[in-house]
Amino acid sequence: MPLDTSTYSLALLRLDGRRWNELRRIHAQISTQAAADGSSYLEMGNTKVICTVAGPAEGRRGAVGGGSQSEMRIEVEINIAGFAGVERKKRSRADRRNAELSHTVQSALESTLLTHLYPHSTLTLTLHILAQDGALLAACINAATLALVDAGVPMYDYLVACSAGSTSASAAAPPSSSAIPGLGGIGGNRSVGADADDPLLDLNGLEEQELPYLTVGTQGDSDKVVVCVMETRCHASRLEEMLAVGIDGCKRVREILDGVVRAHGKKMIENE
């Protein structure tokens, strides 16, 4: 589905009216499921995720596979609801894309949680994706972080993630000033379309189909990258600005999530 993103260079506004460095609305709640040890509900734009945490508890008997017993095992299950996308698709459980997604969340959490405090135990995270509109991995990671905070599992810092893209010169052909002489004149000193590859923050689903993007996850507001996944082809020279914008976005996501946690804590204290 070719999509016309070339209008970006004219107004410097994206399809949904955001500027290049604006996040979508992030709405989050924690302790949404009473039955779970920890739970959260997160919306990043139109991407909606519910996360529940069970444990740390004794692992299933005869549980197979990796990890030494001196550290907590983390299991991540991701469910993409049939109605999450535009068209209804039946996904098999052994979907490799899904397996990769849960592997990413799991190994990112392994380095963020203090796993050595819970030997011989298992932590199970279940992520339900209710609606999909870009930044799926980022939403999963952020929702997992909130649910783990709610569950009271000790961690070094918030694990936050955010996606960043680049308006590629190839996809959005830079309108030469001769093609639109009127605009070039009005633009004055700002040369319209000259800077055809602006970095963009937090892409929505349509932009993700069109532009190269990556997902960055950082620990707290440090500049250290825990997760970096890029799946689309783009020139190496774009990576730096995309990373910089992504890391900056992570810091803002962290503030938002921190606000949610603090508000929830305050409410809990008042109710007691």
Binding site: V64, G65, G66, S68, A94, R96, R97, A99, E100, H103, T104, Q106, S107, A108, L109, E110, S111, L214, T218, Q219, S222, D223, K224, V225, V226, V227, C228, V229, M230, E231, T232, R233, C234, H235, A236, S237, L239, E240, L243, A244, I247
Partner: protein, 292 residues
């Protein structure tokens, strides 16, 4: 399910201490690959890569089928991976473990999603007939660096493969056997190759092409896929210890050098093989690209 034998504490300590003193167990510098050895089979599309002790065979084959109804103008290209139990006791047939899932996903993203193979060129009659190209990756021996080795083998095999020539007259398709007409190479748009970086000592030590022992001890890995034009096809850092963003950038720049050197080596081997096949010097005349 058996697990990969873990390194003992002593070996682990020894390896880490050696790395701290800037020594790798096999004496390589930090930023070099092990010896790559690439061989082609008798048939077109069989590549055998040895990266140190890791050994991977890729076989590319094709047949004619109907295209997917939602992709009428595209041929079909599939990559399947198989970890043979002879490579490691941890591999079981029919039960993909985590590393197999990751390997097939990385190759999928690196080669298929970056459209290294032009699938449109595999179309014979839109909506009715197309070539289905299939690449089977067999891991025969496992000593780390599976992703890198598999990617080298896959790219070499795809580049080496020849599909049968076809002619279309109206609705009639004639597929010529290898004897009738010289087969046609696949249309490769670019040649992505993977380089894996392993991080130790909270990012102070970065290794290229880690062996199995080093893989078991490392804190995190970054898999970068690039082509020789400096385009990144895929980056995967799935977790592990946090690293500096700047170090990701240096990874990509050093990956570019590695990819260019690897591609040069593959190209040399391909030329060598072509020369061997071109016994009487007739290849240029027989080539399907000539006008008939």
């Amino acid at each position: 399910m058996p697990r990969e034998a873990e390194l003992s504490l002593n070996e682990r300590e020894f390896l880490l201490q050696a790395l701290r003193e800037n020594v790798r167990l096999d004496g390589r510098p930090f930023d070099t690959f092990r010896n790559v050895e690439l061989k082609f089979g008798e048939e077109y599309g069989v590549a055998d890569v040895q990266l140190g002790k890791t050994r991977i065979v890729v076989r590319v084959s094709c047949d004619v089928t109907a295209p997917y109804p939602d992709r009428k103008f595209d041929g079909i290209f599939n990559i399947t991976t198989e970890f043979s139990p002879m490579a490691s006791p941890a591999f079981e047939v029919g039960r993909p473990n985590e590393s197999e899932v990751i390997l097939s996903r990385i190759l999928e993203k690196a080669i298929r999603r970056s459209s290294a193979l032009d699938t449109e060129s595999l179309c014979i009659i839109a909506g009715q007939k197309c070539f289905a190209v299939r690449a089977d990756i067999h891991v025969l021996d496992h000593d780390g660096g599976l992703v890198d080795a598999a990617c080298i083998a896959l790219i070499a095999a795809l580049q080496h493969f020849r599909r049968p020539d076809v002619t279309v007259e109206g609705e009639n398709v004639t597929v010529y056997s290898l004897r009738e007409r010289e087969p046609v190479p696949l249309a490769m748009l670019h040649h992505p190759l993977c380089v894996t970086f392993s991080y130790f000592h909270s990012g102070e030590v970065v290794l290229v092409d880690a062996t199995l022992a080093e893989e078991q001890v490392r804190e995190s890995e970054v898999i970068v896929t690039m082509n020789r034009h400096g385009e990144i096809c895929q980056i995967a850092k799935y977790g592990g210890s946090p690293i500096d963003a700047v170090s990701l950038l240096t990874c990509t720049s050093s990956a570019l050098g590695k990819v260019q050197a690897l591609w040069k080596y593959i190209q040399e081997k391909l030329d060598e093989d072509a020369k061997k096949r071109d016994a009487g010097g007739l290849m240029a005349e027989l080539s399907a690209e000539n006008a008939r």
